[in-house]
Symmetry: C2
Subunit: 306 residues, 2 copies
């Protein structure tokens, strides 16, 4: 089924303990759209770029079946993020954020994009998320991510978003902050009360939790084990895109909890590839067969007899 991914499209400059690269493709929508395009075509992308955005990045996106008819080209400079990972890949330092064209962006969807059934509101301001959602007249399944910044400075608007979601995907630290409890199981359940029927709490290297209806509908998905992480930027966005991309291609418009579990596993494994190279470089080249192979391994790594 048709899918729209909205969010930021960025130019990233990333330093890791072993390397550094500039001018990389980044942003929540870029990662999510590439991940989704593994399973679902076409993927409509809504975002904004500036005059300095490399054509090569756009070519890459279109080559993967991503439609850029809702990607606005603005006269300003592109949104940029400059950051550094330390020896412990779980922590990073942001050196510079250039909001630039994102500042006054008013998302406008193409007629075709506005007709999609599956909508992903990637990490961006709740105002932008609502603007996108207001244009999606045929949406049947809406998923969103967010971050600590919006929890802090746009809490009320974020609650407006929450009421209109089928699925919230959020990382563990932000789930704790947003729900106001340190217990992740309790946090997931509390976040459901803010609106979304389904909540996924991403736990970084540990995997993710999926919460559905009642205590029975709980899924703990382990992360695919990686002995080394090259660049974790965009792993969470890849998770979201892979998850909803799989749903859009394989489930009914109102997916079941069973569908959601399989989607989480696909999102999790897709994200594992993202961590293996700078930016989207590994994600761009992964095949569905490689994803399936890791899923088989993950099943084996998590099964036990009684």
């Amino acid at each position: 089924m048709s899918l729209l991914i909205s969010g930021s499209v960025a130019i990233d400059n990333i330093k890791t303990p072993s390397d550094m690269q500039e001018g990389l493709l980044g942003g929540s929508a870029s990662y999510a759209a590439l991940a989704a395009s593994l399973f679902c075509k076409p993927v409509h992308l809504a975002g904004v770029i500036g005059h300095d955005f490399p054509q090569a990045h756009l070519n890459l996106l279109t080559s993967r079946g991503i439609k850029l008819d809702s990607l606005e080209h603005s006269a300003g400079e592109s949104f940029t993020w400059t950051g550094e990972y330390h020896e412990d890949m779980n922590s990073r330092t942001t050196h510079k954020v250039g909001i630039n064209v994102l500042e006054n962006w008013n998302p406008r969807l193409s007629a075709e994009a506005a007709q999609v059934k599956f909508v992903v509101l990637g990490n961006m301001s709740p105002d932008n998320q609502l603007q996108v959602l207001d244009q999606c007249q045929s949406a049947e399944f809406v998923a969103a991510d967010t971050m600590d910044l919006w929890i802090n400075i746009a809490n009320e608007r974020l609650h407006d978003v929450m009421k209109r979601l089928d699925l919230l995907v959020i990382n563990d630290g932000e789930a704790r902050e947003f729900a106001g409890t340190t217990n992740l199981v309790e946090a997931g359940r509390l976040l459901q009360k803010k609106g979304p029927r389904y909540v996924v709490v991403k736990r970084g290297e540990h995997g993710s939790y999926l919460f559905g209806d009642g205590v029975e509908e709980f899924f703990s998905c382990s992360a695919y084990p990686l002995e080394s992480i090259f660049d974790p930027t965009g792993a969470g966005d890849s998770f979201l895109g892979g998850m909803v991309g799989w749903l859009a291609a394989n489930s009914r418009a109102k997916p079941s909890f069973h569908d959601l579990k399989t989607a989480v596993a696909h999102g999790s494994v897709t994200a594992s590839f993202t961590c293996e190279a700078f930016s989207t470089q590994r994600l761009e080249n992964v095949s569905v067969a490689e994803v399936k192979r890791r899923l088989e391994e993950l099943k084996d790594y998590t099964a036990f007899a009684m």
Copy 2:
């Protein structure tokens, strides 16, 4: 098969955000022995207590099939731990440690205890662990835990212990420190190179990883989800005791990786009960049927279709 649990036997004073209790049964060997006794009888316990140790705690242990013939009664004061958990149950503050009778303890096993096939070296000094191990002439499977203190002040002796282990069970922070890497998958593999064929990295609320031979032998066990944690003291010791207790009762003297996986799941679920009340109060009263029920749920919570 016969089982020995060695380690500390303590009097604990614990404060949580909701309650406080003093004079509680504590110590690595107490938790591990109670957990093991769920699956295996008898369990021999090796430790040391002082003149002030409550008889009620000893009665409890013996009532659960735990043999105290290698528990030394010393004239000094018992080992005590006084600590506090904050709102975030993942962090705690130690207010006071009274080493007392542990200071000059030289473990002496009864003739019967010295004949066991399965040996657990609970968290205590590597010197004490080696003293116990030297007396176990018939040991066929040796498991140990440790902590940051010994990694820092007795690193060489700890390496001597490692060379004689079949299984190391260690928490995530200590695995990172001992292995010298922040990646837990890499840490597990590096710790295997120090001696033990099997390594379990306990990941607290997230579960545990089990490492066996080669990349194929990897198991990611999720924790049983708890919406509230009452007192996590001894959860790791309960994990170790439950795990090896199940192995001693259900596997051959040289358990397979398949056995280890099932044992990890049993240890994990056993530990979940420990967190539900002060000290050993929930662990004392749990039934094997309750453990099996949670194992069934955990299987359901972690399975997915492709």
